[in-house]
């Protein structure tokens, strides 16, 4: 699917981001401008910015792709991404703002008065941030590949360069307004095509989405295989074209694919006949549309464990994401932080109504993606596939632009917060120069990682970042805010006990092939065992080391919990003012 309009849309989005970034260069001057947008941001702007930053590649393309491939079990992704904000609202929003922390390491230090806790929190925040940036870059590669046919690394490189340059020049002030705008743009980009797609589906006779048949080609469909692919044919079918099937070279001829597994070579191009059942990628569940629409149909081992692990990771992980935390500092006080979070909850709810519709329509209109395995592309391909002519092209361009906006905004937010952590805790170079050097470093590392990853679905990768956050920084925040018995030793032990296994599991899943081993699900969905481990170790070790309760913990608790208007916060200078 190569489309001129889509290329134009991507270019416009990228140029727009650069322009706003340059404009930001002129207005941001002081260090505090760079870090916290001078705290002049209203709740609606702030909430839109959080939404804009949070709706990443996983939300825009990934969720629809997973639902398309694996059915309703994957609905836990959008539900979890939203419910995470409810947990954040009820457990940490106001105290976090009142702590005056700009990054998670800042919070760790403000609460525990310990460089050690701060250092561990910094390393974990960096790891989570990079783990989260990686799928954004992969998503950008996929999008550019789908609309232009460019190799995967081009999209990743463009996003890295634009984001790094932008953050270096404008800092966060420009980013806040860019992000806020991005939410509304992304919502438009995903919602407007839906209206037309559903209309077209109605015009085509509102074909049932849950028929007891395998997905079938609606017309003769030419499919090119970009990597060696093993597929399973549910019914025998005859394909025509050029390429390699089961090791035999085929030159412009017809081949019979009997029922069963077939290996199709890289670079093969075959035309699949109308009405034939679509072969599935061998690693995917082979479901009829009826089976697909039922829960527990994804074909994974231990689906119940998988579902609960995903729930724990997303519900608890949201609060530990480094780019989400930063936004709370730009609220004027704790009450505003709560209201902002409530608005975010609303904005996300509206957005997440859309991806499942793409996923379901994809079963009818773009079933060949089940065979090539590029399920993440379903959002990008549907508009041009369902609507002929210029209308479809324009809607496709809108979606591609929205997707690119998603990668740019999430990556910007992540790079800003990672640069903050890097410049203060790792490089220890202050001022604007330190921030700029850190920005470059924050962008280059994940770009390098894209070259070695194995290309799992982007939403799954994001799920791993959530799992690490849920197992390490979430216990730190929850227990740190609500219990005055947590000690420095306990905090460090808990973060390591939860974070390290989750991180190791994530890296193993991403960079090696674990295949069908029985423990595969424990590694690809680690949160259900690592998060309780992190909480338990942090609490128990704290009880055993009560001598190490940080000094002045009562004063810290007053600062975290007392409403600002009482003027109780007399516990020394604010960490914000120290910096400006």
């Amino acid at each position: 699917m190569t489309s001129g309009y889509a290329v134009v849309a991507v270019v416009v989005v990228v140029l727009g981001a650069i322009l706003v970034g340059t404009y930001g260069l002129r207005v941001s001057r002081t260090t505090s401008d760079f870090y916290v947008a001078s705290r002049t941001v209203s709740p609606w702007w702030n909430a839109s910015a959080i939404g804009g930053e949070y709706l990443s590649a996983a939300s825009f393309v990934g969720i629809a792709g997973l639902i398309f491939a694996y059915g309703p079990d994957m609905l836990w992704f959008p539900v979890g991404y939203t419910a995470g904000y409810l947990v954040l609202l009820t457990m940490v929003a106001a105290p976090l703002r009142r702590s005056g922390a700009y990054t998670l390491p800042d919070f760790a230090e403000a609460r525990f008065r310990s460089r050690g806790v701060r250092a561990v929190a910094s390393v974990l925040a960096l790891a989570i941030g990079w783990l989260y940036l990686l799928p954004q870059l992969e998503g950008a590669g996929l999008t550019l590949n789908t609309v232009t046919g460019a190799p995967d690394w081009v999209g990743a490189l463009i996003v890295t360069v634009v984001v790094t340059a932008n953050v270096m020049s404008g800092g966060m002030r420009s980013i806040t307004f860019v992000q806020a705008f991005q939410y509304w743009f992304k919502l438009t980009a995903i919602a407007v095509p839906i209206v037309f797609l559903v209309l077209v589906w109605q015009v085509h006779g509102a074909q049932s989405l849950t028929k007891p048949d395998f997905p079938a080609f609606r017309q003769d469909t030419e499919v090119s295989f970009q990597r060696p692919t093993v597929v399973h044919a549910e019914r025998p079918l005859v394909v025509k074209g050029t390429g390699e099937v089961d090791g035999n070279r085929v030159e412009n001829a017809a081949v019979l694919l009997a029922e069963g597994y077939h290996r199709i070579g890289q670079g093969s191009e075959f035309v699949f006949p109308k009405d034939a059942a679509v072969p599935h990628l061998s690693t995917m569940a082979h479901n009829t549309n009826e089976m697909w629409s039922l829960p527990m149909s994804s074909g994974a081992d231990f689906p119940l464990y998988g579902a609960y692990s995903l729930i724990i990771a997303t519900f608890l992980g949201t609060m530990g994401l480094p780019h989400v935390i930063v936004r709370f500092y730009t609220n004027p006080n704790g009450t505003a932080a709560r209201r902002t979070t409530l608005i975010v909850l609303g904005l996300l709810s509206v957005f997440y109504l859309m991806p499942p519709i793409y996923g379901a329509l994809g079963r009818i209109y773009t079933p060949e993606l089940l065979m090539t395995g590029q399920t993440d592309a379903v959002v990008l391909v549907l508009p041009t596939r369902m609507i002929d002519g210029i209308g479809g092209e324009l809607l496709g361009a809108l979606v591609a632009g929205g997707a690119f906006a998603a990668f740019l905004s999430t990556s910007s937010g992540l790079v800003v917060s990672l640069a903050g952590v890097l410049s203060q805790d790792v490089l220890r170079v202050g001022g604007v120069r330190g921030f700029r050097v850190s920005t470059v470093l924050a962008g280059i590392v994940p770009l390098a990682m894209t070259f070695v990853s194995t290309g799992m679905p982007v939403a799954d990768m994001v799920g791993l970042a959530f799992a690490v956050a849920a197992s390490s920084l979430c216990p730190l925040l929850m227990l740190g805010i609500w219990s005055s018995r947590i000690t420095t030793v306990g905090a460090i032990a808990g973060m390591l006990a939860g974070g390290l296994p989750a991180l190791t599991a994530g890296l193993v899943t991403m960079f090696t092939d674990t295949g069908d081993a029985w423990y595969e699900i424990l590694l690809s969905r680690p949160a259900a065992w690592t998060a309780p481990l992190g909480f338990a170790v942090m609490y128990v070790v704290s009880l055993l080391t009560q001598r190490h309760v940080p000094s002045g913990v009562q004063r810290t608790m007053v600062k975290l919990h007392a409403p600002e208007n009482l003027g109780l916060d007399s516990s020394g200078p604010h960490s914000g003012e120290e910096r400006s």
């Binding site: 039922l294 209201r339 499942p356």
Partner: protein, 124 residues
């Protein structure tokens, strides 16, 4: 005409004993980290923790029951509401208003308990 006599009020404590000290306000108790201040803060933190945890557990607990329910009774998946399969209806449509409602309730209650706390500690 003689000028009207100018009246001047002269006051002084009638006793030689020192006046009773004005009681400290709650804010001062908290600032000075007295026992009473600690009690005030503990009350606030406990109230907020109870509120946050209960909103969180009720909402997330209700959601968390769903996978178990679908696993125990797979027939539920075939049930249809408004033309959608039950899992789709619950997860795509019903969840989001519920989360919003829970969030709204929490914000209202949390702000109320902070107002009550402020009234309590600012009373002279």
């Amino acid at each position: 005409m003689p000028k009207p006599t100018q009246r001047v009020v002269v006051t002084s404590p009638r006793t030689r004993a020192p006046r009773a000290r004005r009681p400290y306000s709650g804010t001062r108790e908290i600032k000075e980290q007295s026992e009473l201040g600690a009690v005030y803060m503990r009350t606030l933190i406990r109230a907020q923790r109870r509120l946050g945890l209960s909103v969180c557990l009720v909402t997330c607990g209700a959601l968390g029951l769903l996978p178990l329910l679908f696993a125990i009774e797979p027939g539920l998946g075939k049930f249809r509401v408004l033309g959608l399969g039950l899992p789709w209806f619950l997860l795509c449509v019903a969840t989001f208003p519920m989360l919003l409602l829970a969030g709204w309730f929490y914000v209202r209650q949390a702000e109320r308990s902070e107002r009550e706390f402020a009234e309590l500690v600012e009373r002279p």
